[in-house]
Symmetry: C2
């Protein structure tokens, strides 16, 4: 489970949020769940991760790298993981 309940931050035309974990494996499991959601939506974020930390950034490249409803839907589903 994630240990970070902060909201998403809008910056540089992206919605981003960092989630923290107690080990690498938990972070990787989370990344896979995000990946499954992204594949189901046909909308893929940027994912940066390392030991115990995952940062997700969402923007819509097809619409000129802006934040759209697709990104808001993706962030809402990620928050339900």
């Amino acid at each position: 489970m994630t240990q970070n309940t902060n909201s998403w931050t809008e910056n540089d035309n992206k919605l981003s949020k960092t989630f923290t974990f107690g080990d690498f494996k938990s972070a990787l499991i989370f990344v896979n769940k995000v990946g499954e959601i992204a594949e189901n939506l046909g909308h893929h974020p940027e994912i940066w991760f390392t030991w115990g930390k995952v940062t997700i950034a969402c923007s819509t490249h097809d619409d000129g790298n802006i934040i759209t409803d697709k990104d808001r839907e993706l962030t809402q589903k990620i928050d339900l993981i």
Copy 2:
């Protein structure tokens, strides 16, 4: 399979390399293989990825964020994926 055969770049005390893929799922499978190697070695890189692209960066935090033999071993095993 990766489509990038470039060597690792040493920059900012990290060894980094970008691998490209034909879709998101292939990139995610690669990330999981990197994760398995990292867990087996007990040495974890930074992983940045999005649709079709994965960038790996390796440095040794325990030794003051420098490149060590642990990083070279990790990069060699990643190249064998």
